[in-house]
């Protein structure tokens, strides 16, 4: 299955991926309208330490601890993709305790959110991949 991978060597830590992600998941057609004066909640997060930068998003683990730990069944694995049924999430955040990558997080309304590889959005590449200015984020089979 194709996944999003980050090549640390090329990640510049500019955090644009976070903004493109938030935009893509905003249901807005204009980026300014979507993100201006808002605290963004992105499914990909850049981490920085000294000269090292890298973005982290859901690995779509083969043995996903978040799905196994989810107490309501809101997190599910569908065709390899780990998705959230937002209606069933009750904000207990057991998944946050389970995920070894820190790749699930609460959204603005508290429901858990995570990268779903832009599966619900048209286009053949996730927004973070498309928006990365240095091709540090790639979408490929490994």
């Amino acid at each position: 299955m194709k996944r999003v991978y980050v090549n640390e060597q090329w990640c510049l830590g500019c955090r644009l991926c976070e903004y493109y992600c938030a935009f893509a998941n905003s249901n807005e057609s204009d980026i300014v309208k979507a993100l201006k004066d808002k605290k963004i909640h992105s499914n990909i997060r850049v981490e920085t330490k000294g000269n090292i930068n890298f973005a982290v998003s859901c690995r779509h683990c083969e043995e996903p601890l978040c799905v196994k730990g989810c107490i309501t069944g809101a997190l599910q694995k569908k065709d390899g993709l780990i998705v959230v049924d937002k209606d069933r999430c009750i904000h207990c955040y057991t998944c946050i305790v389970c995920c070894p990558y820190g790749a699930v997080s609460p959204s603005a309304d508290g429901v858990i959110q995570k990268c779903e590889l832009c599966a619900k959005i048209s286009g053949n590449q996730p927004a973070c991949v498309k928006g990365c200015i240095n091709q540090a984020i790639v979408y490929e089979e490994r």
Binding site: L12, L35, K36, G131, Q135
Partner: protein, 499 residues
């Protein structure tokens, strides 16, 4: 007190700025700043070099850079530029430094030359349907038929460079540009079937794998020159001069001689890399001949030797001498050629336009019956496929592109290479900036550019009813001048439009 008012202003459309801080993150000159108490961005125009990094990456197009309209009292003689230069020198006591090519308002002859096309009597060719040859060979051609003792024609030739298209990446050293820039050029050259040039910085060990597409340079500092460096190359270039700074040497500050740059140049870390103005063993064509043959001897006469000279006033006589020195190829660099750093006054006032130099050298060599002994490469601001067509019609075999290649990779011609803080990861050795140039992107952009130019050249050749680059070479009838004086037309060897 700072006399210099910022040249550019950063204009931020606050209605569009989403405070993502990417501009702040990506500006090596620290122009952008986040004001936490107000949750907004602020810019400091003083430090902006107008490189467009922030403008390009801004996800909401909230930024643009404009030229400041701050002005001095009008004066045609004492322009603001001149006054500011004096301020700078009165402050620093130093030589003014600049980068990239001469930006001043001299005539660009390429822009005053028009290309011909066929109509009726000599049908044009559709390059999509009919063969169109853009392949060229560079090197000394056979100028006399020789037969062996049996009367059979000797078909051997001097070593040649084989190019799919008459474009090469000109010399830019590892040190003046980054590792990633070098890798991009090397990969693109390999993919395109052309050559790139190491410049006088040696060849990084990682790039030996591109040796089939590598021209190595031997310059006055002799940095990075050793046996395997010569052996590995496809051709060797002796750099006698550079269009951006004819008559002077080079100086890469010790601060840039770090790590791999130091190793590759074979000089200690932190020591300045000073390339002398002359080669201290070359004071005549005979001396040059010695170096040419030393290099040929060292490499078994298997590689063509290029001699690169700057286009200066007596370039024709120099070229004639070089052609007789045993060199296989002469590269002429016009006064608009780029540089990683040069004294401003030299860059902007020394040398002559490449168009005139090319036309007169080609004519001189033909007049002397030695044109076939050498191939001619011209550089010094080749900006487009039409510049190439015109250069070839004026007599060139091939062109060098440097600035155009850098622009393809992302250079925005902010002309601040000398600061070493290139925001595009090209003219810098700072690791955080170098990584901004991902060779897999940059290489593809180079390939795209050359491929696009190749398409355009084929179209123009076809239009002229010509089906190979070779048939265009020196074919000045395909050119006409506009707005040129009789003298200029005479030197260029072309008619005026309408004639």
């Amino acid at each position: 007190m700072n006399y210099i008012y910022p040249e550019y202003e950063v204009v931020r459309n606050y209605a569009r700025c989403i405070v993502c801080r990417a501009c702040e993150n990506q500006c090596a000159n620290c122009v952008h700043r986040y004001i936490e108490s107000e949750n907004r961005m602020e810019s400091k125009d003083d430090d902006c070099v107008n490189c467009h990094r922030c403008v390009t990456i801004c996800p909401t197009r909230a930024l643009k850079i404009i030229k400041s309209d701050h002005t001095f009292r009008y004066n045609s003689n004492w322009t603001g530029k001149t006054i500011n230069e004096i301020f700078k020198q009165a402050e620093s006591g130093g030589v003014l430094l600049s980068s990239m090519g001469n930006p001043e308002n001299y005539p660009v002859y390429f822009d005053k030359i028009l290309i011909n096309a066929s109509q009726v009597t000599n049908p044009s060719i559709d390059p999509l349907r009919e063969p169109m040859e853009t392949r060229v060979f560079l090197g000394s051609k056979v100028h006399k038929i020789k037969r062996d003792s049996n009367g059979k024609i000797d078909t051997s030739t001097a070593p040649q460079l084989d190019l799919s298209v008459p474009i090469m990446f000109s010399a830019m050293s590892y040190g003046s540009i980054s590792y990633n820039a070098h890798e991009s050029l090397a990969k693109a050259a390999e993919k395109l079937g052309i050559y790139y040039n190491t410049g006088e910085g040696g060849l990084h060990e990682d790039f030996y794998k591109y040796s089939k597409n590598t021209i190595v340079q031997v310059a006055s500092g002799r940095f990075g020159v050793h046996k395997s460096y010569l052996d590995t190359a496809a051709a060797i270039e002796i750099k006698m001069g550079q269009g951006a700074k004819p008559g002077i040497g080079g100086h890469l500050p010790g601060a840039k001689i770090v790590g791999a740059v130091s190793r590759t140049r074979m000089i200690p870390e932190g020591s300045d890399a000073i390339s002398p103005a002359p080669h201290h063993d070359i004071y005549s064509i005979e001396d040059l001949r010695q170096l040419v043959f030393s290099l040929k001897e060292a490499t078994d006469y298997k590689k063509p030797v290029i001699v690169k000279i700057a286009a200066v006033h007596n370039v024709t006589a120099i070229a004639s001498g070089v052609a007789r020195s045993g060199a296989d190829i002469i590269a002429i660099d016009g006064f608009r050629g780029g540089t990683g750093a040069a004294p401003t006054k030299i860059r902007d006032n020394v040398g002559i336009p490449i168009e005139l130099a090319l036309a007169s050298v080609d004519k001189r060599l033909r007049d002397e019956g030695i044109r076939d002994r050498v191939s001619l490469i011209v550089g010094g601001s080749i900006r487009s496929s039409t510049d190439i067509i015109k250069a070839i019609a004026l007599g060139a075999d091939c062109v060098y592109i440097g600035s155009a290649a850098l622009i393809a990779m992302g250079c925005h011609l902010c002309r601040s290479c000398q600061s070493g803080k290139c925001n595009w990861g090209i003219a810098t050795q700072i690791p955080n900036l170098v990584k901004r140039l991902n060779p897999s992107i940059a290489y593809q952009r180079l390939v795209n550019l050359v491929t696009a130019w190749n398409h355009e050249m084929r179209e123009m050749l076809g239009g002229m009813g010509i089906n190979s680059i070779e048939s265009l070479k020196g074919n000045r009838l395909m050119l006409r001048g506009v707005g040129l004086t009789d003298k200029e037309l005479e030197i260029l060897g072309i008619f005026h439009a309408g004639e």
